[in-house]
């Protein structure tokens, strides 16, 4: 079946603008995660959704970042008033149920804030 998909694949924006990044998880996966990867760095956890439970937002770096997951499937990560330090690859992953099961990653959205 299809893997995790993300859109757009690349996004260039100006400082101060808002951006929305989309993730379509693998069908049937109830857990969805967002990570951020800065140039040459490892992956940094941002937020986790599991079914209808309240999301774990502990990794969001500031209140400019938010995410939602509609209908238990598609998720949108929104960054308001983007800053240059927000430039990174934003990766989405999904797993069947919880974090201790294999997480499958999408190709990422490469965000560049000018």
């Amino acid at each position: 079946g299809a893997g995790v998909s993300q859109s757009p694949s690349n996004k260039v924006t100006e400082k101060g603008k808002d951006v929305e990044l989309r993730c379509d998880p693998i069908s049937g996966h109830t857990a969805l995660y967002w990570y951020r990867q800065s140039l040459g760095q490892g992956l940094e956890f941002l937020i986790y959704f599991q079914g209808n439970s309240a999301p774990d937002k502990s990794g969001l770096p500031s209140d400019r970042f938010s995410a939602e997951r509609t209908g238990g499937s598609v998720s949108t990560l929104t960054i308001q008033r983007t800053q240059q330090e927000d430039s990174a690859v934003y990766l989405c992953a999904s797993s069947f149920s919880r974090g201790s099961e294999t997480q499958y990653f999408g190709p990422g959205t490469r965000l560049l804030v000018l």
């Binding site: 995660y33 490892g42 992956l43 956890f45 774990d56 974090g99 201790s100 499958y104």
Partner: protein, 112 residues
């Protein structure tokens, strides 16, 4: 090994040789460990995993070793091929955890 910022450790091996990539994980309570491979411009790809009740697990051409005493994880790749060139990340989580904690990554370069 561990590194900071752009200076990821690099392992260069000759095609056909075996590769060993090491990782020191951070949380002694972690129960589940995964190795991911990331090629340029792509998302991380699952390679192999291991749970804390095991110390070795083998896959196709890959073996993961876990030493909980010293919080060390290693990935062995047999007969390394040019297609194995990538950045390799170890990741850890708790059994009922909800996020992966990733290591900094190691660049593997395979010379033909």
């Amino acid at each position: 090994g561990e590194s900071v910022g752009l200076h990821l450790p690099t392992l260069s091996v000759q095609e056909g040789d075996n590769s060993i990539i090491n990782c020191a994980y951070s949380n002694s309570a972690s129960d589940y460990f995964i190795w991911y491979k990331q090629e340029s411009g792509k998302g991380p790809q699952f390679i192999i995993d291991i749970r804390s009740n095991m110390d070795k697990r083998q896959g196709q051409r890959v073996t993961v070793l876990l030493n909980k005493t010293v919080k060390h994880l290693s990935l062995q790749i047999a007969a390394t091929q040019p297609g194995d060139s990538a950045v390799y990340f170890c990741a850890e989580t708790l059994e009922y955890g909800n996020k992966l904690v990733f290591g900094a990554g190691t660049i593997l370069r395979v010379k033909s």
